[in-house]
Symmetry: C2
Subunit: 123 residues, 2 copies
């Protein structure tokens, strides 16, 4: 399925939400299954209000959701915006693949020179 063009506001919110290591770790945790706020707070050595702040950012960006009725209100990963961010980045694939290819070529060249240098004195 192809995406329609993602609105700028959604991409802004997604990328801003991902710019924090705790929020990225929360998403990683939720990728292994839904979890309550208490369960999410535990590994981070953070207060529940601090975690709740991060959860709000993730929720506003549409990256997580929760069931309003369930008492534990477990949080769930909502991956659609991640797919849209990925699609935005994909347009640049030729560039990073290009730069890695150049880096590979440079490393090969350096290794070759080093080998030559090492062999030199033994002759």
């Amino acid at each position: 399925m192809s995406y329609a063009q993602t609105p700028a506001g959604q991409l802004n919110a997604t990328f801003a939400a991902l710019a924090d290591p705790t929020r990225r770790a929360i998403l990683a945790r939720l990728a292994s299954g839904q979890a309550s706020v208490t369960e999410l707070a535990r590994p981070f050595n953070m207060t529940q209000p601090a975690i709740s702040k991060h959860l709000k950012v993730l929720e506003r960006a549409g990256l997580i959701s929760h069931d309003r009725d369930a008492q534990r209100r477990p949080r769930r990963l909502e991956a659609k915006p991640l797919g849209e961010a990925n699609q935005w980045l994909e347009r640049y694939r030729e560039f990073w693949e290009g730069s890695f290819q150049r880096l590979d070529a440079l490393l090969d060249e350096m290794k070759a020179k080093e080998k030559k240098h090492r062999k030199g004195p033994r002759r």
Copy 2:
């Protein structure tokens, strides 16, 4: 070529830099070739200092670079951090593909129901 694990600080900087539509547009512009600050400022209807601020954010994140010696100091796209951000997102591919598959199934179901509904009165 596979990447080593990207440090959290780099991912923070990359995602934060991408969370702004002007900065994303600057990267899109640079994907079609290097450009001076003046050239970059033109399409955005922004002052040069405003553009320079955005360029500094992009530069600190390692997403652009410039030749110090050249008089025009044209900016160049540096795509490696985009590749690393893409790689981080790729871990969630199964989730967004899963959710799109569910959405596709839902749309198919809705279309089928609509068809049935339309055909109904004609019988």
